[in-house]
Symmetry: C2
């Protein structure tokens, strides 16, 4: 049975395919409940998907957690970007001298019997926007130990160290361990 | 037919009863979709409620919109409070010299044929927390022209000027205009 990835994002799908190999894309719009706990958002989506989808599938949440904001925006990042753009989030985070943040991907996988979560994260800090602005909060996230924001890296450089790759690799290891 | 108010909040219900008279409380848990547009959140709730409820009913959203944050937190206020408390929201708003904010209640009413919205708002500013901390963001909201935060007012003082009263009064006027 082919594993399915529920996502509307072609870049995320491409990355998953590179790591997992045999994956199919399901582009279904799933309601996103108002929650700050990413696992609950994922759980709700998977339960909605189970109403129509068979087999094994997964979805993911990738969010930015700013420490001085006690973990905000987290899954609310979409609304922060819509309201304030990266520049505004940078200014908001600047009220504190602690600019540390974590980028985290959580994958929720289900075979319809149970849900399993796989996490990947990368620490960094919030900086003034630098680089291409085409991908969400990438311009304001500087990964620890690097001199470039995510937006200044090539897709290959970013994917090599990304939180999403770490989570996908854990999912892959789990799937292989069952064989 | 008795009008019904979908709310889990006894204070909100009491206030509605004082203004509208004949109201019944329905305490049903409705899913809150992740949205920054309060009307969309309300619309979704009403549509969910229509699946099981008959007659006429309404629900409301009361949120705090901070101008320097381009209207955030808005309906996300719950998560801002959970993550940062009033003190943290005050500090966050303090990165700008513009501390102006608007407290807004939006009521969504339906008779199952259509949805109508009624808004009430009050302008003010974000200040360091003052007063009882038992009701959400009341300690950091100082209404324009007053010397006390919402949390420093008695419930009667607050209800007299509140955004919720303004919205409820508009709903009442509408209901009476149809008679």
């Amino acid at each position: 049975m082919t594993l399915k990835f529920i996502t509307g994002n072609p870049n995320k799908f491409r990355e998953a395919k590179q790591i997992l190999g045999n994956v199919e894309k399901i582009a279904m719009e799933l309601p996103e409940i108002q929650e700050i706990n990413a696992k609950k958002i994922i759980e709700y989506k998977l339960q909605e998907a189970m109403k129509t989808q068979k087999g094994e599938f997964f979805c993911e949440d990738t969010s930015l957690y700013i420490n001085s904001l006690n973990g905000l925006p987290g899954p609310l990042i979409k609304w922060f970007l819509e309201s304030m753009k990266t520049e505004g989030i940078y200014r908001m985070a600047s009220f504190s001298s602690d600019r540390s943040a974590t980028a985290k991907t959580i994958i929720g996988y289900t075979n319809r019997n149970e849900i399993r979560y796989f996490e990947g994260k990368i620490d960094g800090e919030i900086v003034a926007p630098k680089g291409e602005t085409n991908f969400g909060w990438d311009p304001i996230f500087l990964p620890k130990g690097y001199m470039k924001t995510f937006a200044q890296m090539t897709p290959e450089e970013k994917n090599e160290i990304s939180m999403r790759k770490k989570a996908l690799t854990k999912l892959k290891d789990y799937l292989e361990s069952r064989k």
